[in-house]
Point group: C2
Amino acid sequence: MPSGGARIRSEQLEAMAGIIHRKKTSRRFATALSKLIDLPTGKVKDSDLDPKYVAAAKEWRRDYVHDIALPSAFIKEFAKLTSHSMIAWRAAKKENAFEAFAPYLERIVNLCQKKADLLGYRDHPYDALINEFEPDVTTQEVDALFSNLRTHLIPLIKKTALQPINDEFLFGDWDEAKQMAFGHYLLETMGYDREKGRVDISAHPFSSSSHPTDSRMTTRIHPKNLMSNIFVILHEGGHALYEMGLPQDLYGTPLGEARSLGIHESQSRWWETRIGLSKPFWQYFFPLLKETFKGQLDRITLDQFYRAINKVKPSLIRVEADQMTYPLHIILRFELEKALIEGSLKVSDIPNTWNAKMLEYIGLTPTTNVEGCLQDIHWSMGAFGYFPTYTLGNVYAAHLFEGFARDHSDWESHVAAGELGFIKQWLHEKIYRHGKRYPTQELLKEATGKTFSADPYLHYLERIH
Amino acid sequence: MPSGGARIRSEQLEAMAGIIHRKKTSRRFATALSKLIDLPTGKVKDSDLDPKYVAAAKEWRRDYVHDIALPSAFIKEFAKLTSHSMIAWRAAKKENAFEAFAPYLERIVNLCQKKADLLGYRDHPYDALINEFEPDVTTQEVDALFSNLRTHLIPLIKKTALQPINDEFLFGDWDEAKQMAFGHYLLETMGYDREKGRVDISAHPFSSSSHPTDSRMTTRIHPKNLMSNIFVILHEGGHALYEMGLPQDLYGTPLGEARSLGIHESQSRWWETRIGLSKPFWQYFFPLLKETFKGQLDRITLDQFYRAINKVKPSLIRVEADQMTYPLHIILRFELEKALIEGSLKVSDIPNTWNAKMLEYIGLTPTTNVEGCLQDIHWSMGAFGYFPTYTLGNVYAAHLFEGFARDHSDWESHVAAGELGFIKQWLHEKIYRHGKRYPTQELLKEATGKTFSADPYLHYLERIH
């Protein structure tokens, strides 16, 4: 989009959101929905109703209950505050001035607390916030899961990061057109249908779908960093494949929508880490990468390459973190968010708490807040409850991958032969085609036959190097 | 857009069109509008109303009266028939089988006659159809104008086309990236604001604007034809500049919309022909073109180049026609459309009538209907009344240009120095900023101080070579 068009586009989106909100909270919609499901209790009225429609009715009701809980005056106040806060955050980050952002953050925390009260919750106000992004999960469950991860990861990282691994050869001069061509080739092999999507360049890569037949994505080409575009392609491609695989005949209903942000992230991280960081994958693709960049990787063995891309090295910036330290960045943020929302942490204490936790978790201390609590845009957007979905996605992916590896015990030899089609097929069968048919835990169990557990994720991380 | 997404996009557009149509024909809208203007008669109720708002009220009423005249059952029938007809037309064109398309065209003519009856007209049913694209003009006026053009152009073309002009050097191998860079440079010099638009590639170039701050366009790069992209850039750039110049503060009202298709076309043809085919323009840009394609145009003088791009050579295909024969392609289609709608021509007689007129007007006879009456998509789309706007645009452009040349008697020396900013400024002052403030004839008179006439257009064409 031309930059000058941003203002009118946001006005158009606001107008559209208003129309949709009014329709979704209208008496007419409520009356129709009430015939299927009792809105106050969620009890389905017709006990013979096809389970598929029961699932849809419950999701429609979930949205309805959410939408009517937030008065439009509140939504406007929230939108106004966060739009100012994003500007304040950018300025504060530029000048390393947390104190300039703090008053905005205090008001955001207050409004998020108010939001939780409006939406309602059983045990913890943070439940209401996290459920906006990941339904059916509780703060207590996330807390238990994250404590478990934290306990295992802190010593594991200390041990793993000791190994000296050379990854300098990944940084050099990498022709941009060749990078793009290689990325397109990967996407095609994954099963991305170019007739139903397109790939563009943007500063911050993302994927965006309006329908299974129009699922687009962006990537970024870093002229010095060979792996940047490759991992973005696998990551955003994973999101895009999910959207392409949602059932077209149920478009417009919850059954045609992705289950949750966490499940979405499990799809992107699946391709990025479980496939794209695996040795079988590069057994096939590394020779092709060498061929693409003739002469530039001649002296590098597959093993050296594999170790380099899997290098674990604690760093302060979340978006640059490797897969083993990344969860600790998330856990830290979750702990702070929870404490802020329950009122046990003051905004002014964030920098100290952040820095102390960072030292404890990954052994590093930010020298400035820019490297610390000012690095992410999320809080300025009021997106409290969003961060946990990143790590949930990784844990879900590992749980699913265990089931996949059981169903395809020979997956490594197929992938090493450059065959990836059966992977997409498995994901389609287990995840894509179901949309919101099952709650997350049920979906994870249906897919693998096993109750969701963090063990596969921990086992996977322990086996790196 | 990904090709696979076409179906859902058309469903989305249909849904959106339905919402807009319901709102624009709602009782609520009619009641509000009735406070300004009497809907049956068009009489403005408040005689002290600001003339700007009077103009807006009249345009709103025009749309309202149009929209309520067409029952949604009719609109659906029309959409269904034309969507089938476009497929039938493509197949018929492929196989040179007019008889396979004829039954569809007969039904389209019938529905267009019905449409004219539903919309109402004073003198001729074709009035109702042409007014869908060009308001306030009558069939009789177009007929008189086109007869005048035809009478002058037939002998003029015979005379002009006799001159042997070499334009072979325009066809060769032209680097696509250089073509694109030159196109971008031209656009920038015209005053196209890249912050408020973007340029992409498409098979059929077009421009599309959703707001003055988001006015996009496409071009096509022909590797063998040097001028293809250049003229597209000037043409679509002219459309895009008009949209960029519409008053932002009146967005959403008729005063923020382009006056008519004819006026729009006057803007594109202004840049493409009156500027882009002029000698002063190439006095400045031809050396730059030579510089861009180093070595490829060394032996060509400005005069040779100028004569080549202005070459007049009758041909059978409208979209490949030069500027002097183009109007005759349009006049022929207008005459056929008018006769079909009034019932004086049968669909089965189209090929013979087409071929006879073509011989009379430009001295050529199609050997197949593919080169004749099957060449255009317009009739299969049901767009009877559209063709005349192409030629109206040229005639309007010439009328306006005479006023411009009077206001800027030194325009040639400025353009020869590469200054184009004052052109956009003049058009902004005279056309862009007014939106639909004035009816077309008034706009043309306000801009130039003179009553609209075809003379400047004929004088211009007579002076070519």
